[in-house]
Amino acid sequence: MLTRGGDSSLVVDILYDKTRGRNAALTCFYFDFAAQKEQSAINVLGSLLKQMINGTGNIPDEIRRTLRDQKETAGGRRPQLVDIVKMLRLITSSQGTYMCIDALD
């Protein structure tokens, strides 16, 4: 236990510089007490996944398939949490990944 604070936004910028041009990805999320409803687990993890996908030239085939399947054959149903976690695992398996989450509680 230390007696210190931090600075989430500075960390994001520092890690951005560190990951630029390397096989590494950076994602972040800022929780907002006033936006609890829209910041559901699915939306938050979906946002992290979205940022990871944005870091790739193209959406990886397996992830594209999953998304298209759900969007088209499941009647446009949003991805379930378990699907998003699976896709996150998949896409983070090939590169170093930073995830910065502010105000987790």
């Binding site: 210190r4 989430s8 936004s9 950076l26 946002s47 944005n54 930073y98």
Partner: protein, 152 residues
Amino acid sequence: MRTQASWCVGMVTPGNPRFCLARQAFLPLPRTSSTHDSQKLQLFNRGSNKQSKMSQYTIKDNTNCFNTTNSINVQNNLTISHDRPELLAWLSPLDPGLRHCDIRERRAKDVGEWFIQTGEFRRWSGLSEEGEGDKRVLFCSGNPGVGKTFIR
């Protein structure tokens, strides 16, 4: 002001995402007008003939900010396939990059560097060569308003 923080540090390898978690409330901020449907996204088309042409949007007044529709680590010149924006928008409506841009412009300059220099952060992030361990989570906590998100 006295704050408390607890830490876990670790290294990053493929398949093991590094998490930097800040706990407890951050400084209250006015809500920005950044609803996702009004966001201006900066999209570039590299011109591959296999890709569809996309309209180009720009982030007004935020040219120094990273762009979450593109990635943070691959900022510009993405190749965009035809269904990519559609799939991504459907995946999640949230865009924390806009929040980051807002904070970045408002935070006090040259504050918080000490945190980047700490051994805990350097080891966790891999900025330090020594002691890259197997822990993947860096956890920071502190009282509300002490500047965990940023100090202005």
